[in-house]
Symmetry: C2
Subunit: 176 residues, 2 copies
Amino acid sequence: MAKTMTRTAKSKGESAKAEGEAGAMLDDIVQRAKVAFEERSLRFTQLREQVFSEIASTRGSIGAYEILDRLSEKGTRLAPISVYRSIDALIEAGVIHRLESKNSYFACRRHEHGRKGRPIFMACEQCGGVVEVPAQSIFDQVAELAKSADFTPKVKFMEVSGTCAACRDKAGSKGD
Amino acid sequence: MAKTMTRTAKSKGESAKAEGEAGAMLDDIVQRAKVAFEERSLRFTQLREQVFSEIASTRGSIGAYEILDRLSEKGTRLAPISVYRSIDALIEAGVIHRLESKNSYFACRRHEHGRKGRPIFMACEQCGGVVEVPAQSIFDQVAELAKSADFTPKVKFMEVSGTCAACRDKAGSKGD
DNA sequence: TTACTTTTGCAACCTTTTAACGATGGAAAT
DNA sequence: ATTTCCATCGTTAAAAGGTTGCAAAAGTAA
């Protein structure tokens, strides 16, 4: 479940082995986030980094209060508003997205599919996992439809809930 | 009665206006809702009808607590749960939809476009109006995409926010 | 009637999000 | 270096949205 890893002591060279691939990947993702902030002249503060790390190390999406709880278990006790402020900044920098249907947040993985246009988010109702599927043509068509309805769209993204392959297969013995 | 009544009324949309055409139309819509309930052997109780009427007479979408406030102004003071239960029933009967991105509800107008497949909802950020645009092919394509991602979709509907024609035209003085 | 199901009423509580206001800390202009 | 400015953060508080649990009514069927 929740792997309690400490972000504080993590030097690039050895952390990969010490913490496994996931740890290395997280460093990587955090690094990318940092760059995203710099590109926009926004500050990737310690607080924002902590919040981002929690989100990014979560399989699926995570709610604001769970971020709060996890950070507090790690010694950083925050007020809700602080988390929300970080979340706002992270969304603005484009490194996380909000899953409207679940009031939760997840790290953007656009890089994983090479920026082939805007993605649709498929959120698994069983395991909470979120997959981003590039679907620019869908967005284009929606834009078309909107135009014909004389509507100026401002779509940020689309959500589709359902069941992922893994959960479908192991259907029957449900855990979380 | 602490919480239930201390909320400040905030009008997000307007209820029935001229009462002339709108009133007749409302009766019509309520009648249709009644039929929808009967078709499913559900009870269109007085409470549900009241809640539905508030929703249906709202231009755009309306939140649960605003329904609460409006009904209470009309003498029907309810607990939140009562409104939510009615909302659940109304959604189940298919006569209203929930706008996920705004935590609010609006009356279904499928009949207006003759049931040509599932609609996308276009919600105007300025005036709060919601237009349903039939878009079965979009849903089909999403289903295709999902399949290719090995994901079993369960889309109920899609939301697109933006600006409607009327609001775009009378733009100039920015709102927010 | 009795028995059963559905709907309501009521109180309390939980979760999510924002407001208000002051303090801090870094950039940059003086 | 010091003042000035702005973004960020801490703290308190509360608004907005939603749920649980239980009991009383109202409807349905026998």
